[in-house]
């Protein structure tokens, strides 16, 4: 073990882990699409997919933290939109892009804190709290913008959504950083271990002397922060803040997590799985476009993929039992 180099170790842990099956599925899907649409593997197309995937993946990583405890965050789409509007609005009022970005993230954190407080301390079900927040935050966007896009974004802000670094899109780099940070916290720290423990058995975790409420509170802030981050980057990507940005993204984020092997009961899931889940969805959407399948089919096919992923997971876990 000690002698083998890093790539072999990563490869080995991939083979052993729950992720191996879905990684294989991703590769098969990519191979299948390439047969029917050879331009799928072109550098330009892969570049476009990777940028598209990175947005969903960052939101899904935040969602993963919450789902690991058996919770759910339905408000991420609205938080994206609200954070984007907050950042764009701040810039419109003449704030520096960096301050505006921080303001957008702060709005996200504040919403996460409200979600977390209601869930952890007032003990309202996560589904209800975040469903209410989905509606409330979207309503706030409409009140603030009256449905109009916020434009005239300063040029100096646009690179985080549009430019490249080392010939890869900057959003992809942000996703990689977010994934590494999330992976580190979930697997190497007490905070991560406790997050999994809460999902595995909340009562036992509480009776072991762990501050369950404090952890849950922070997890909803993490989820909202990730969503807000994507919301802000999307402003740069589209050079405007739209009132409907993020609508329906909570479903994509949850789907990515589930396809990636995350259990909605809590306690099971990984960052790598979520990335692969997001990639599978992105690749299929892109592949269907390249193969000239009507866009109406896309949503239905994603639904089929979610069920297939759940069945695959069921088969694997019943074989272990």
């Amino acid at each position: 073990m000690e002698t083998s180099n890093l790539p072999t170790r990563i490869a080995r842990s991939l083979m052993r882990g729950r992720e191996s099956a879905i990684l294989l599925a991703l590769l098969l899907i990519m191979a299948g699409i390439t047969i029917f649409a050879p331009n799928f593997m072109s550098g330009e197309n892969l570049y476009l997919i990777s940028r598209q995937i990175s947005f969903v993946a960052i939101v899904a990583i935040g969602e993963l933290f919450v789902i690991l405890t058996g919770g759910i965050d339905l408000s991420v789409g609205s938080v994206m939109g609200l954070a984007g509007v907050a950042a764009a609005g701040a810039m419109k009022f003449g704030f520096d892009p960096i301050l505006a970005t921080l303001f957008g993230l702060l709005v996200g954190l504040a919403i996460g804190a409200i979600n977390g407080a209601l869930i952890a301390y007032v003990r309202i079900a996560p589904f209800i709290v975040t469903l209410a927040m989905l509606s409330f935050a979207r309503g706030l966007i409409l009140i603030l913008t009256e449905g109009w896009p916020i434009t005239q974004i300063p040029k100096s802000f646009l690179p985080i959504g549009q430019n490249d670094f080392l010939s890869l899109p900057i959003p992809l780099w942000i996703m990689i950083i977010a994934a590494v940070v999330a992976w580190f916290f979930l697997t190497k720290t007490a905070f991560g271990r406790r997050t999994y423990a809460i999902g595995g058995n909340e009562q036992a975790t509480f009776l072991s002397g762990i501050n369950v409420n404090g952890i849950k509170f922070r997890l909803y802030m993490i989820s909202s922060l990730c969503a807000a981050l994507v919301g802000v980057i999307l402003v740069a990507r589209f050079n405007s803040a739209q009132a409907d940005t993020g609508t329906g993204w909570e479903l994509d984020a949850i789907a990515a997590a589930v396809i990636g092997g995350t259990s909605l009961m809590g306690g099971v899931g990984s960052v790598l799985g979520v990335l692969i889940g997001a990639a599978i969805m992105g690749v299929i959407r892109n592949g269907l476009v390249l193969m000239m399948v009507s866009p109406y089919y896309q949503t239905a096919i994603i639904g089929v993929i979610i069920v297939l992923a759940a069945v695959l997971d069921r088969v694997k876990s019943s074989r272990q039992a």
Partner: protein, 517 residues
């Protein structure tokens, strides 16, 4: 209360016809031969005790009987006719009912709805006939001598009452063979008596019972015959009227066990480290006071629902007290959460290890270190994996935990080893005060005696222990003093010397004598 009368009349059983016969039953699981040519028979109106250590094959045999598993070899005769049940439902239709150790009910549905779940009585129009169901339920509960509001969701009833509802459910169908898997593990002595009365009635009606229990004195008392399994094979059959506990244990474990339940030596009293004064709190705990000395084991005895677990929850801050003081080394401490209690060196081992103590999907290492993350930090954030493994492997050795490695997932461990993992978790936290709530519930005799040894050693090393147990022999073997609780208050605190089960039970029902320290 203490003397054990035999239940029912077993004299005429030799002539009774055989109801069930299982011959040469074998069952393989990948890597394990769970059963090897096991014979097992039950006559009409006979109460058969089925015993063996955890993993001996009792549940596998019962699952084959009820159609959950298919045997790899052997045959099953029901009423003399060869038969194999394909599903539990089919077994039920032939009159076999099983009452599981863990309750299988819908906590949000009422007693009535649970009772008739899956066999609802309907009117001609297809609607539920509540009148008819209520009437049939009333008859059954009258027979069980239980006064019960049928409209209350069963989740709000006591475990004992819920257990009785399970039995009522079995009586509702035309039961001919009733399998009871650890039916008394969550019942108080009085409720157990009730259950035994019902068993005697069933027996008189010719209904056969298979009684599975780790409580040996109960087995001796209620059964007509004891069948012992060991490592998936027949180990022998005993006549409860002639055999001794030692013989039974020797059959179960395959060796003599002299030290089983041997009483721990009393310790000279030392300084008081932990005092509780006038503790009150939800749901009904009032004015609980006691002292705990260094290295002392204080037994908490009482009926189920006497408030012992609730008192423990107040002590560790899992529930908020409404009055009273808790003093550690003479200084008042405020315990608002288990986190605060653990930080002060007070640990609580809960009564239900699967629900309240273990993260079943996590490894043994992760479970053992769950309460000591603060000791394992390196570089501010990172959990030190090497230290974790060291702690886990240390406890594997010192507690003799049977695992393939520290990385084994605890879901796959036997009950006794799971309980040792929970104990290891708290030993790693090095508590000064350790509250053990039913530490040996549902684990086999061998594991039980090991847990007893560990508890005694802990006390000898200076840890002060509160031992909540519904098994009086356990309390009598381990405790230095016994605190008797009843209906949320302290009835008496009795010294162990010369104490008997009868004395504890009369303290439960007698007048308060709390000054008797």
């Amino acid at each position: 209360m203490a003397e054990l009368k035999p239940v029912g009349n077993a004299s005429a059983r030799e002539e009774l016809p055989t109801l069930l016969e299982m011959r040469g039953i074998s069952k393989n699981f990948p890597g394990v031969q769970a059963l090897r040519a096991v014979d097992f028979a039950v006559k009409r109106g006979e109460v058969v005790g089925l015993l063996g250590e955890n993993g001996a094959g009792k549940s596998t045999l019962m699952k084959i009987l009820t159609g959950v598993y298919r045997p790899d070899g052997g045959e099953l005769l029901w009423d003399g006719r060869p038969l194999h049940f394909e599903t539990i439902r089919e077994a039920q239709e032939h009159g076999i009912s099983i009452i599981f150790q863990e309750l299988n009910n819908c906590p949000n549905l009422s007693a009535l709805e649970n009772l008739f779940l899956g066999r609802e009585v309907k009117t001609r129009t297809g609607l539920l006939d509540f009148g008819a169901m209520r009437e049939r339920a009333r008859v059954i509960f009258e027979r069980l001598d239980i006064n019960l509001d049928l409209k209350i969701p069963v989740g709000r009833l006591s475990t004992a009452i819920q257990q009785m509802i399970e039995i009522a459910k079995a009586l509702l169908s035309e039961v001919r063979l009733l399998i009871m898997d650890e039916p008394t593990s969550s019942l108080s002595t009085r409720e157990t008596e009730k259950l035994f009365q019902v068993m005697a009635e069933l027996k008189d009606k010719g209904i056969a019972v298979i009684f599975i229990s780790h409580k040996l004195e109960e087995v001796f008392r209620v059964t007509d015959r004891i069948v012992v399994l060991r490592d998936g094979e027949n180990a022998g059959t005993l006549d409860p009227k002639l055999a001794t506990t030692d013989q039974l244990i020797a059959l179960m474990v395959g060796r003599e066990m002299k030290d089983f339940f041997s009483a721990r030596k009393l310790k000279a009293s030392r300084e008081v480290v932990f005092s509780v004064e006038g503790l009150s709190g939800p749901p009904f705990i009032h004015d609980v006071s006691f002292d705990l000395r260094r290295g002392e084991i204080l037994g908490f005895a009482g009926l189920i629902g006497a408030g012992r677990t609730e008192t423990a929850r107040l002590l560790i801050g899992a529930a908020r007290k409404t009055a009273g003081r808790v003093l550690l080394d003479g200084r008042e401490v405020t315990l608002t959460s288990p986190k605060a209690a653990v930080a002060k060196g007070i640990a609580y081992l809960p009564e239900d290890r699967k629900v309240q103590a273990l993260i079943l999907g996590m490894t043994m290492r992760e479970n053992v270190t769950l309460a000591v993350h603060r000791l394992l930090r390196k570089l501010l954030l990172i959990l030190d994996r090497k230290k974790e493994t060291a702690i886990a492997e240390d406890s594997i050795r010192s507690l003799d935990i049977r695992v393939s490695s520290a990385e084994q997932v605890v879901r796959n461990l036997s009950g006794g080893n799971q309980q040792k993992v929970v104990i290891a978790k708290w030993l790693a936290a090095k508590p000064r005060i350790l509250i053990l709530d039913e530490p040996t519930r549902g684990i086999d005799v061998h594991a039980k005696s090991e847990v007893h040894r560990i508890v005694a050693e802990l006390a000898d090393s200076g840890v002060s222990i509160i031992l909540v147990s519904s098994e009086l022999p356990e309390i009598l073997a381990l405790a230095d003093r016994v605190l008797v609780m009843h209906e949320g208050g302290v009835k008496a605190i009795l010294p162990r010397a010369g104490l008997t089960q009868a004395a504890i039970m009369s303290a439960v029902f007698g007048p308060s004598q709390q000054e008797a320290q």
